[in-house]
């Protein structure tokens, strides 16, 4: 099994798409934090979106851009499974390890690890820009770090589980574009609608489960739009739900599409 794990890591390391993904993570986090932290202060839009600069709540909002890591971890996981079908590398992969469940299991593990790496990149860039903002005379380092500790751990935990979720989704759907559309579309479009209409159902969906996980360390009343966190499931339930999405989808995929003939 450790051979398969190492092989999966090696597959990720040796394609540019992985590095592009990490680069995108860094650029998005750094870019938005620059925009938020250093854009000339004008009355209007930013006032609506962000509280007064340098306050704890402002830092919390600015650092929340690190949550992009969660979606990008999903993308990484999806690519890990669908990429094999897309480039037909699934043939040599299954020749080396004909017990396909083991291949999917090792992808789940490495997908989770990959999610953590994405979160680490987002976290490192977030921290660097956090200090840069403080160095620019906005707020204090102590306040920034306090808020950082509110945001990053939840993002990291959710990213790990979204990496698994992506692997599972890709294993079941096989097609890269479809898997990405379903995975990202679900969290961007379907979930907000379902959650608004049926909060009792919506809270079990991946995005809400991730929020539950983030809420462990999150600042009380952090949400800027008055969406209360009361409807969220407990953090541990969120973690179990996300783990469940990954494992159940991967198992379903292993028993259906992955089990199929490789022609």
């Amino acid at each position: 099994m450790s051979r398969l794990l190492r092989a999966e890591v090696s597959k990720l390391r040796t394609v540019w798409s992985t590095w592009v993904l990490l680069g995108v993570t860094a650029v998005v986090v750094g870019g938005i934090m620059t925009l938020v932290g250093f854009a000339p202060h004008r009355r209007g839009v930013t006032d609506l979106l962000f509280p007064a600069r340098g306050t704890a709540v402002w830092f919390d909002s600015a650092l929340s851009v690190m949550t992009i890591a969660i979606d990008l971890a999903l993308v990484l996981g999806v690519i890990m499974t669908t990429g094999e079908f897309r480039h037909k590398t699934v043939t040599p992969t299954f020749l080396v390890e004909p017990r396909r469940g083991r291949v999917v299991a090792s992808k789940l593990v490495v997908g989770g690890g990959g999610g953590l790496v994405v979160a680490a990149v987002a976290g490192a860039v977030g921290l660097v820009f956090g200090f840069a903002v403080v160095g620019g005379g906005i707020g204090t380092a102590g306040r920034m770090l306090t808020e950082y500790r509110h945001v990053w751990p939840g993002v990291a935990a959710a990213s790990v589980l979204f990496g698994l979720y992506g692997v599972g989704l890709g294993a079941l759907l096989k097609n890269q574009a479809v898997s990405l559309a379903v995975g990202l579309g679900a969290s961007a479009v379907v979930e907000p609608i379902v959650t608004a209409a049926l909060p009792s159902v919506g809270r079990w969906l991946p995005g809400q489960a991730a929020q539950a996980l983030e809420s462990v360390t999150a600042r009380p009343q952090a949400s800027g739009f008055g969406t209360s966190v009361v409807h969220l499931v407990p953090w541990w339930a969120g973690a179990l739900v996300l783990l469940g999405y990954g494992v159940v989808l991967a198992t379903a995929g292993t028993l259906t599409t992955v089990r199929g003939d490789v022609t």
Partner: protein, 322 residues
């Protein structure tokens, strides 16, 4: 000792019966050709042997066990498959290293196999820039990673240049010569005839024949051509002896599905003057057509070449044009 054994192997894809109750065994120490027309079920059979396609019925065994039950499949079987994939952005060496890691093969072996297949200088290039022949070599390099006892190759000569084909031929001979098993599918009969010792011929998913190529060729019927001034007389004489013959030219007789001995005897018995005599068809190709029930040249005529650019198309007659 390494073996391949197929017993009652059947595969149905929906309404299509791709492989139908196929049984054969492949012996070590020689190169076995796996031949058949397009769609005969060759690739499906090979993929069932490799655990990639699940048989509907029957068994496909390597060294007596199913591929999926081999503890270290890479060390037992090397497979070169068509449409096996490479990530275009990954270098050849990284592709092989990932596979070697998964198989528990040391990375030093990667450089060895790259060298064996003649890709030593291209190891750090991305596979996306490889020609088809180079991909085929890389695929063979991957197959050799575990130093296997059995090689299964599906159309390995595809995309190879003449030197590559000649190299592959000598490689397979060398490999089989070490008492190992080689099963190689091909549709290039002239090439296969030079490479294989044994043949398994498949048609419509069923066994059409198996045996030593030389023995099969000896027993194969041939076409005998005779140039003789007595052509008109010879045709009915041959027919009387049960030999089907035709007279394509006034002084030429063509006897089909027979042997030079049989025709020669008829001519000697009847005092037919022979000016020239030749026989043809002792080839794998004619044997193949005979076994698979297809006829040489029976393919539909190629479509006429497209008209030169600017020439009026037939559709213009109907006034559709401007």
């Amino acid at each position: 000792m390494a073996t391949i054994e197929v017993q009652g192997l059947t595969k149905r894809f929906g309404a299509v019966l791709a492989v139908d109750d196929l049984s054969f065994a492949v012996e070590p120490g020689m190169v076995t050709g796996f031949l058949g027309p397009n769609g005969a079920g060759k690739t499906t059979t090979l993929r069932m042997l490799l655990g990639l396609v699940r048989p509907t019925a029957g068994r496909a065994l390597v060294n007596g066990v199913a591929y999926r039950d081999l503890a270290e499949p890479t060390r037992v079987v090397g497979a070169v498959l068509e449409s096996s994939g490479f990530h275009p952005a990954r270098t050849a060496r990284h592709h092989l290293r990932a596979m070697a890691t998964a198989a528990g093969v040391p990375h030093t072996r990667v450089d060895e196999v790259l060298d064996t297949v003649g890709l030593a200088a291209d190891g750090d290039r991305r596979v996306g820039g490889f020609s088809m022949g180079m991909r085929q070599r890389l695929e063979l390099a991957r197959a050799l990673l575990g130093d296997p006892e059995v090689l299964i190759l599906d159309e390995p000569a595809n995309g190879l240049d003449p030197q590559g084909i000649a190299w592959l031929r000598s490689f397979l001979r060398w490999f089989a010569g070490r008492d190992r098993v080689v099963l190689v599918s091909s549709h290039l009969l002239a090439e296969a005839a030079q490479t294989v010792d044994d043949v398994v011929v498949l048609t419509h998913g069923r066994m059409a024949g198996q045996g030593r190529l030389q023995e099969l060729l000896r027993g194969a019927a041939t076409t005998v051509r005779v140039r003789t001034p007595d052509a008109e007389r010879l045709v009915p004489l041959l027919a009387a002896a049960g030999i089907r013959a035709a007279r394509p030219a006034p002084d030429l007789v063509e006897a089909a599905a027979t042997t030079p001995e049989a025709v020669g005897r008829v001519m000697a018995d009847n005092g037919v003057l022979v000016l020239e005599m030749s026989s043809s068809g002792e080839s794998l190709e004619s044997l193949f057509f005979e076994m698979t029930g297809t006829v040489s040249g029976s393919a539909p005529a190629p479509p006429p070449p497209p008209p030169p650019a600017g020439a009026p198309s037939p559709g213009d007659d109907h006034g559709v044009g401007p």
